[in-house]
Assembly symmetry: C2
Homo-oligomer: 413 residues x 2
């Protein structure tokens, strides 16, 4: 049949194209994951590499469209929501003080190193150096959460510390970004920055402190609603509601989704809700991972000077986060410190957003933007093997499988 | 805090905006659903009305963007996939002959009526009349499936017939659209049309006939894969794969998703897979319903002549489908005939796609496009109460709830 006929039928809305893209992304991600599992490598690395292969860099099967971006965003939202469901508020409070130290050191060390590096490297402005430092600050905890969840290690002490530190790190990152952006536009509005910062802290602390109590109180009315699956619907509304609020305040949407999960974690119905949200996570997370891979633009490596700078920045980004956060966690012993240091390495999309803002403000050159992109993707890609190695001596936990303990709990409950 | 700071933080990718839109859509849909359940009206009507209210027609909280469209598409894909999971291949074959009669009559009667109406109505061309007829042909089974599933009536005899007839109706609709589009461009390529038609029929029949057997054979290897939730992943890949193939052939993506569900329906693990896909459906279907409501552009009703024509077309669209399909099902008794007639009424997005193509080919005026839009939305809105009334004497089935029969089946199985 002729292509014209097909083009007519697929129609102006081009829905067939979206279905095909989702199919290709899902299939490629999961084939790569299976392959990596078989050669005993982290599945997430396989899925990110699949994104590089099917994306614009190599096969060009899929383009990073708005729709793909949205699915990637929803993927990491559900991922952190599900992780939140396994985290009780007390888990976070218990590690609060140490997590703050980890987060603060994990911000200062990379920032100073990134800034200092570009001040010494010839041909870059003061403001560009500040932006690179800021881009190296924010940990993107999605990848770490995926690796830890896949290995059933979310309840370990180091995992709790990583999650709590990532939340705090995100708030500090927000404040750093606010200051840096103000510097670039030439007018630092301290009142605004302090207000935004206080709002972010107040929001986070109050959801952790009171969220679970509020949720437990409305549980019965929610169950009595007439709509089907009312508890799941309530959970989804809470997840997207808090994610949207986080975004509006200025911290990452995934922080809100994580907090929503934490608030829901004490519900007695946790097992069923957890299984339902796992289905949502399994469907959407591959798009998040594929999307990270797609963002790697191999063209920037045409210039040797950019390649060199990228390599140095990547090594510095990995080492400074590892050392900064590891130092903060040293009180828990060397093994735990190594685990926490490794878990905080991935920068993911947060660094990219910083660089995009710098580009939009004309404070950052295309070269530095490319370097930050490479740093974000490659720290994310490098983290899973390091996390795996750091946690290798951790007692093995039964993995989630088709036949997991949920069934048993449901029979008992 | 200043808006500028917020704008900076939300960032160029504008992710916060997507989260906020999904939150608003989900909340509005489910509040409306709850309200409608309480006043004993179909929840789907409430969700579509919520779309009208929050969409561009009234409150303008949400715009129909590409991302919203994609979520709507995924919503109806999962909806039909879940319905397919409850439909065994034998269910379809058993009603095959009668379903063909229902589908054919349900195409001929509305087409002739739509065409004849516009030939008699002053001021419209021959080709415009043909397009209106074609737009009235294709049933959009999503709404009916949602209503029947919500009331636990998917396994009734009439439901099976409706689903099978909707699949056949979609293939005939494809062929009608092919002929009509060719007429508009002035060159009818019969070879192409016959090829596309044969391909669509061969695809559908072979998936129904052999799909389940193939799936049952690969079940064990799939379960033995190393990745987590391998069966769910396999099901998702199959769902999007067949949906993409359907789209490429030219039939609706939802037909492929439905067929994927049918192919998976005999898996012994049906209960768990069904529960997981229900979670995906519950999350995404509201966007499908909201999206239908958003498409209703109230501005077209500024002109009285358009309002009159719309009203007449809507009444004709409802009556002709009801009578045509009802006649086809009369052999099963009057009650069943009424049920089938009512179930085939909604036109949904299919009629809109036809009108969009007509608009793109300059064969259809803006007024007729608006009329088709109104016809699609309002037949969809009118169907649930009619379906509810038609099925009111059906033996009550226990509704899906948080504590449904899945648990029992899992304990037994």
């Amino acid at each position: 049949m002729t292509e014209a006929i097909i083009a007519i039928f697929v129609g102006p809305a081009d829905h067939g194209h979206i279905l095909l893209e989702l199919f290709i992304a899902l299939l490629a991600a999961k084939l790569a994951a299976e392959l990596f599992e078989r050669i005993r490598q982290p599945a997430v690395v396989g899925e990110i590499l699949a994104g590089i292969v099917i994306g614009p860099a190599v096969l060009k099967l899929i383009q990073p469209t708005g729709v793909m971006d949205a699915f990637a965003e929803i993927g990491v939202i559900f991922l952190l929501f599900t992780v939140g469901l396994e985290t009780r508020p007390s888990d976070i409070f218990k590690v609060g003080r140490r997590a703050t130290v980890v987060a603060v050191l994990g911000v200062i060390v990379p920032f100073v190193a990134g800034w200092g590096l570009l001040r010494l490297w010839p041909g870059h402005s003061r403001i560009e150096a500040i932006f690179l430092g800021a881009a190296m600050v924010a940990t993107s905890v999605g990848i770490t959460a995926r690796v830890l969840a896949g290995r059933g290690l979310l309840s370990s002490e180091a995992s709790r510390l990583i999650l709590a530190a990532a939340v705090i790190d995100d708030i500090i990152g927000l404040l750093v970004l606010a200051v840096v952006s103000s510097l670039a536009t030439g007018q630092v509005n301290y009142v605004s920055i302090i207000l935004v910062g206080s709002l972010a802290i107040a929001f986070t602390v109050s959801v952790i402190a009171f969220g679970a109590r509020v949720v437990n109180r409305v549980e019965r009315p929610v169950r009595n609603l007439k709509i089907d699956h009312s508890l799941l619907i309530f959970a989804l509304v809470l997840c997207f509601g808090l994610a949207a609020v986080s975004s509006l305040i200025g911290i990452a949407g995934i922080i809100g989704a994580f907090l929503a999960g934490v608030a829901l974690s004490e519900l007695t119905d946790g097992t069923r809700l957890h299984q339902q949200s796992q289905a949502l996570t399994e469907f959407t997370t591959p798009f998040f991972l594929i999307s990270i891979g797609m963002k790697l633009n191999l063209a920037i490596f045409d210039s040797w000077s950019v390649v060199w700078l990228s390599l140095v920045v990547i090594v510095v980004a990995i080492l400074t986060k590892f050392i900064g956060c590891g130092l903060g966690a040293l009180g828990m012993g060397r093994q735990r410190a190594v685990q926490v240091g490794a878990g905080m390495i991935p920068r993911g999309e947060v660094g990219i957003v910083v660089a995009q803002i710098g580009l939009a403000l004309a404070a950052v050159s295309d070269a530095i933007y490319g370097v930050v992109l490479a740093m974000s993707v490659i720290t994310t890609l490098a983290a899973p093997p390091l996390i795996k190695a750091a946690f290798s001596r951790e007692p093995a936990v039964v993995q989630d499988s088709e036949y997991d303990d949920v069934e048993l709990q449901e029979e008992i409950g």
